[in-house]
Symmetry: C2
Subunit: 378 residues, 2 copies
């Protein structure tokens, strides 16, 4: 049976047929209809963060990482100094792209199983007056940790430093209110919790800083100030936009609103998360993170301790049962990840757990319990 598999991955994820059907039309990129579509999407995005008064939003072609790089390139002056709060793989990527483009970059390391600490940030900023910007990954999908955005933003505001937020995998699901949280740039993408298809990102820029960003970027393609200025003047994207991806995002945003916006999405993902974790607990799987720091976006599980376990086989088994899992991204511990996001609900999560159960049985693995726990019990 050639049936679509359910993607339990943190984007690309499973979208609705309605969203994909929006891609059946071709759009002229400078036509009035497409200009209106771009404007409509931008307005919808601003409404999600209650940011119409304080921010603009600039869409950008490419993956989410392109938009993170563009945010740093545009917002941070060439002689700026970025402090990256690092508790995972996506933080390290942000530090790498910041360093590569020639901005001074300092990394403040934290444990990847815990949120970053606002007090440590405060001390670092007190100790180094040269730091101009702080970069925070809101939800670190490397392990799945939710970082304390509001507290970090408050420290930055108090210390008078700019804040760049990678909200790639949290935007649309977790609450972000621009009236309460101060940031210079916040980055997300089409193919995550908004449940569009991948192919474009977008960056919210604080209105007060936009004009000062002129000339910062050494990249033409990634210059969000230039993209914004052109878009304000013409309504068009500077370079060929991913027209079908934008049309899908517009349709995904309509469904987002119909569902009840961010609170409803968070409720569904939280239910997905609980259904998953409860079900996996029955199979004795153990989440890597403490539940108190876990975002309901993606869950890292310890690999089963059974010697018959190998991710490759486990993954192939779940795949044969119709579900795509995600490999772990931690270097020290063997893990795998399961996403809770996308156009899926309790049914899919229950069936996913069932697929895992069938797979364990086929591999002759009696329990999902990790090695450590087995030793404890033995």
């Amino acid at each position: 049976m050639d049936r679509d598999r359910i993607l339990l991955t943190p984007g690309p994820l499973t979208t609705t047929l309605r969203t994909r059907l929006a891609m059946l039309r071709d759009w002229g990129s400078w036509d009035g209809d497409f200009i209106a579509l771009t404007a409509q999407v931008r307005q919808s995005l601003l409404r999600i963060i209650h940011g119409a008064d304080s921010h603009v939003v600039v869409p950008l072609q490419g993956s989410g990482t392109f938009s993170v790089e563009a945010a740093v390139a545009t917002v941070v002056p060439r002689d700026g100094h970025v402090l990256v709060l690092d508790n995972g793989a996506y933080c390290k990527r942000a530090a790498r792209l910041t360093t590569l483009m020639g901005r001074e970059c300092t990394v403040l390391p934290f444990n990847e199983s815990a949120p970053v600490e606002p007090a440590a940030l405060d001390a670092a900023l007190a100790a180094n007056a040269g730091i101009t910007h702080v970069l925070l990954v809101h939800c670190e999908t490397g392990a799945g940790v939710l970082n304390p955005l509001a507290q970090v933003a408050e420290v930055c505001r108090r210390r008078g430093r700019g804040l760049i937020v990678d909200a790639m995998s949290s935007f649309g699901a977790l609450p972000i209110d621009a009236r309460e949280i101060r940031f210079d740039a916040l980055v997300a993408a089409s193919g995550k919790c908004l449940e569009g298809v991948p192919g474009m990102g977008f960056v919210f820029l604080r209105k007060a800083i936009v004009e000062g960003c002129a000339g910062n970027s050494q990249s033409l393609a990634m210059d969000l100030h230039d993209q914004h200025r052109y878009m304000e003047q013409t309504g068009q994207w500077r370079f060929t936009p991913p027209t079908h991806v934008l049309a899908a995002l517009a349709e995904a945003l309509a469904q987002f609103q119909e569902e009840g916006g961010q609170p409803a999405r968070l409720a569904r993902y939280t239910d997905n998360y609980r259904t998953l974790v409860d079900g996996m607990a029955r199979l004795e799987f153990m989440p890597f993170l403490d539940a108190r720091v876990q975002a309901p976006i993606i869950v890292t599980f310890h690999a089963p301790g059974d010697p018959r376990y190998a991710f490759k086989d486990f993954n192939a088994g779940a795949r044969a049962h119709g579900f795509l899992l995600y490999p772990g991204k931690l270097t020290q511990v063997e893990t795998f990840r399961v996403g809770c996001i996308g156009a899926i609900g309790r049914n899919e999560m229950q069936q996913a757990v069932h697929a895992v159960e069938l797979t364990l049985r086929e591999l002759g693995i009696a329990s999902g319990a990790p090695a450590l726990q087995q030793r404890r019990e033995g």
Copy 2:
């Protein structure tokens, strides 16, 4: 009637329903099926230029301009010196992005109504031994000029300089044989003559230079060496790929081969071009370019000299009749452009001319003849 309009624009363009239907499936970006799809597309692209022995091809998220910037950033060392052969808007854009990223850049200007001159290039290279790379736009869609790729490549080969080709709007339609034409990088995109949807580009890199490109790029997202290395190791894209766009490109490539590959595509576009130009000539429109330097990709026409003509109204009229034209990009002369590419044939071009005829009539414009010609006749 909410019927899809025909896009007579140089990308995004009109695609087949079959190509768009390929976007109805969601793909896991690290799943075996998607890895196989990526490999299949890369092989198909290499076959088009007969480049499997000499080149690799690296896909990149974003618009074509992202891939042009990535090619320069990856291929040109930080102390390199790029000579841009400039006969139009896309050449100027390439020079701008080269300068912005900090590479030394010299512009060799030519008239925008004529091809660049290999002899002038030869003289410039003879006079400046510091120039390491030459950048050529194969088909300059600013006016529609076809530039002499083979002769330019030969000069670069003889002088021992690298060549970067922006083949955005020629690739797939005009012949490019890597066995005969030597280039370091050649750039194109999904949404042009291959008739896919927009959202990704790709760059052919000469195998002999790939390893030497490590560390050149100051942009992480645009580092084609890094993207290539990762793709060779894992089969995956480094960052979230535009999965649906790639699936559409794979389906577009299948149709490209079924049609008869590049020769068949060129034959259809040439027929589109002749149908257009012959039809417009009956309405007394005058092409901006001499037919000998005109690529059958996009045609720039002089605006009618009639004082009742305004592009805005003319365009709105053609649009109401179902066709999207394209504004001119020349600064000195009033023009408009009509694309000959996309999943369209003689019928569509005949109807396009008819739509223009009806529009002229509605606007009370008796003839498409430009002001100059009217003066001549007057």
